[in-house]
């Protein structure tokens, strides 16, 4: 009887806790700085009162490799294309000696990046926080933190509205004259169900360029911030997105936020409609010069499905089950069974 009461009490507690957990959409900003100086920002939406730093990364949809079985918590091995391919490599493969490069973890506190004292799986993120990740030495005081971007800037365009459509204007008309104030306005309008929302907070990039822009059908829910570097920009090659259908000759009229992209003066205006998905990301600018650093969008590796974190049956693990390995496995087991039969007969049965 006592056990039943305890069980009931526990069930009620769990129910109350779970119910209380879903108390409305919260948002957190995420800034990722790569070694090239390129910066990506994400605005991640969540319904729980708090989530961990790893969950923020996970829900942003950025390609991610972690080692969750570290003794001290979850270690972040790779973000995007930068880092270590754990478990084929050590999670800290570039931190084996005196030169130590890894994904350093920061929190934006009162306009300054603070090196995290705890791991990302232990740190609880709340509504309005901004998280930072930077590839580099990451020592407190000597690291290379990401640029300071306030929460309002990251999540400014991510107002959740009932219309899950994004209406960018993807027709670009660049000129060869440097125009440090070229602007762009993707006007992302996301539905409240999107787990993260896009922002576009470009930072200036210097030199001139002459580029022929190509309409970029990649409109996803984050922005890439070109850092001040000598790299010049040219039209960004399109990255496919199944939810975007640009017209044959789209026109983009950059408005806001502003981007200084050397000589690129994109005039973009276009009617296409984008339906952002929870894993969507925005790549900015839409065009890139020939020698510019291109940030490739997150591409799920084979076997990885970036699905929402909802309870799912075992049968759905890994999507469609590939039958060929199992056929080989069964055949190998049959060989082992044959060996067992030979051994059994040779040893004279059970004796």
């Amino acid at each position: 009887m006592r056990n039943i009461l305890w069980g009931l009490l526990l069930s009620v507690w769990v129910l109350v806790s779970v119910t209380r957990a879903a108390d409305g959409p919260h948002r957190v900003g995420l800034v990722i700085r790569y070694s090239t100086g390129q910066v990506e920002t994400y605005c991640v939406t969540f319904s729980e009162p708090e989530i961990t730093g790893v969950e923020v990364l996970e829900r942003s949809g950025v390609p991610l490799i972690v080692d969750p079985n570290q003794s001290v918590g979850t270690a972040v091995c790779k973000i995007g294309n930068e880092g270590c391919d754990y478990p084929l490599q050590d999670c800290f493969c570039q931190c084996q000696g005196v030169e130590c490069m890894y994904w350093a973890y920061y929190h934006l506190v009162e306009g300054h990046w603070v090196y995290s004292r705890v791991g990302a799986s232990s740190y609880k993120v709340h509504d309005g926080d901004v998280e930072g990740w930077s590839w580099g030495p990451g020592e407190p005081g000597h690291g290379d933190p990401p640029p300071v971007i306030p929460f309002s800037e990251i999540c400014s365009g991510a107002t959740a509205t009932p219309t899950p459509t994004l209406t960018p204007s993807p027709t670009t008309t660049p000129t060869s004259t440097p125009s440090p104030t070229s602007t762009f306005s993707p006007t992302p309008t996301l539905s409240p169900t999107a787990t993260h929302t896009p922002t576009s907070t470009p930072i200036p990039v210097s030199p001139p360029l002459a580029a022929t822009p190509t309409p970029s059908p990649t409109w996803t829910a984050a922005s890439v911030l070109p850092s001040p570097s000598p790299a010049t920009r040219s039209p960004l090659s399109p990255v496919s997105s199944p939810t975007f259908s640009p017209p044959p000759n789209p026109t983009v009229t950059p408005t806001s936020p502003s981007v200084a992209v050397g000589s690129l003066s994109p005039v973009v205006s276009a009617p296409p409609t984008l339906t952002p998905t929870p894993t969507a990301r925005m790549v900015w600018p839409p065009t890139l010069p020939p020698n510019a650093v291109i940030i490739t969008p997150p591409r799920p590796q084979p076997g990885y499905t970036s699905s929402p974190r909802t309870p799912s049956p075992v049968s759905s693990l890994g999507g469609a089950v590939d039958a060929s390995p199992w056929a080989s496995y069964v055949l190998t087991l049959a060989v082992l069974g044959g060996v067992a039969l030979v051994v059994y007969v040779r040893q004279g049965g059970r004796g």
Binding site: W13, V14, S17, V18, R20, A21, E48, P49, I51, E55, E58, P63, L64, I65, V66, P68, N69, T74, Y86, P87, L88, Q96, G97, V98, E99, K124, P300, Q301, P302, G303, Y304, T305, S306, S307, R309, T310, P311, S312, V314, S316, L317, G318, V321, D322, P325, W326, S328, Y329, T332, L333, V335, L336, V339, A340, V342, V343, R346, Q347, G348, G351
Partner: protein, 359 residues
């Protein structure tokens, strides 16, 4: 004499099977290894090799492995396939529970079980006296002490079982915790008696006696060489950890230190004289076992060096939760069952003894 294979053949087989078992967590490969090892164990038992209480240890490891699955499932909150949520306010276990964590815990448990099974088979076939003889002569004292330490648990388990059976025959029932006192008191007495007996037998055989004393100057020279050798090894290892690309001097220090230490061991070993009462024979089946083990070892090393993804199993994103399987690796892993396949049929004596013991 019921040794099935030459000890060195057994040793090479152990290395050949241990390498893939250590390299991967792929449950499909581990299940094949487990099947092959269970077959080996069955054949060894048919040949009346003593299990040394490994059955209980394997059950214990199985329990620990299952606990590991539970712990991993509750404490690792990473993955895309969530099957339950615990309130995030709960320390350590709060958060989403994922199938990936369950699978990784299960794969780790399976890998642990495979390794324990492998060493159970090795221990059944190779009593400590045999592998003690394989050690370098200079290390015989360390070897004896290690063998005593390693056999402590199996011998204790066997003693516990004997006392347990004896007490039950006397009508004692083990139901509550207090009922186990009659088990532990004789166990303590038996352990003390065993220790005293072991110490006396070692003293009677002159263990530790300095039969052929090393001259003082030579001993000092050896001590200096060992000290310098260890310093060189330490320096080389430190440089290797400190610099991503250590200088040549670091490798020279590591190599030179190793040569010094091994040289002293070899020189010391020459002063130890051993007598052997039982010869080891190398038979055709030993050659076959070594050949199969070398094939297993070679294929494992080659495929791992060429494409480690073949062996990889890591269910967390971005990798697949479904394990991969290469048919040729699977077939090569079946070679772990070679001892069972190559073992000669049981002799009539073994058969009759088996029937007498198990009518």
């Amino acid at each position: 004499m019921n040794d099935l294979f030459h000890p060195w053949a057994w040793f090479i087989w152990l290395v050949g099977v241990a390498l893939p078992a250590l390299l991967t967590r792929n449950p499909l490969y581990h299940s094949i290894l487990i099947g092959a090892l269970l077959l080996d164990m069955w054949v060894l038992r048919q040949h009346r090799f003593n299990g040394w209480g490994w059955g209980i240890i394997l059950r214990l490891v199985g329990g620990i492995a299952l606990a590991g699955v539970l712990l991993n499932a509750l404490t690792v909150h990473y993955g895309t396939h969530v099957w339950a949520h615990l309130p995030s306010s709960w320390p350590l276990i709060g958060g989403p529970l994922t199938w990936e964590a369950v699978l990784f815990g299960g794969a780790s448990a399976l890998a642990l079980f495979t390794l324990m099974l492998l060493f159970a088979v090795w221990n059944m076939s190779m009593p400590p006296s045999r592998w003690l003889r394989m050690l370098p002569a200079a290390l015989f004292q360390v070897g004896i002490i290690t063998s005593i330490a390693i056999t402590f648990v199996p011998v204790t388990v066997r003693t516990v079982r004997e006392i347990y059976d004896a007490q039950r025959l006397r009508g004692h029932r083990f139901q509550r915790l207090w009922d186990y006192v009659p088990l532990f008191a004789p166990l303590l007495v038996d352990s003390l008696e065993r220790s005293i007996s072991l110490a006396e037998s070692m003293a009677a055989r002159g263990f530790g006696a300095n039969v052929d004393p090393t001259p003082d100057r030579t001993r000092v020279l050896y001590q200096v060489m060992v000290g310098m050798g260890l310093l060189g090894i330490w320096g080389g290892l430190f440089a290797r950890m400190y610099w991503p690309h250590p200088p040549l001097a670091a490798w020279m220090s590591l190599g030179g230190g190793s040569v010094l230490v091994l040289g002293v061991l070899w020189a010391q070993g020459r002063r130890v004289r051993r007598t052997r009462y039982r010869r080891w024979y190398w038979r055709v089946r030993d050659t076959a076992l070594v050949g199969g083990s070398v094939v297993l070892l070679t294929v494992t090393l080659f495929t791992y060096a060429r494409s480690p993804r073949m062996w990889l199993y890591y269910p967390y994103p971005p990798y697949s939760v479904q394990p991969s399987f290469e048919w040729f690796i699977g077939l090569v892993l079946v070679l772990a069952a070679l001892p069972a396949l190559l073992a000669p049929p049981r002799s009539p004596a073994t058969l009759s003894r088996g029937k007498a013991e198990h009518p």
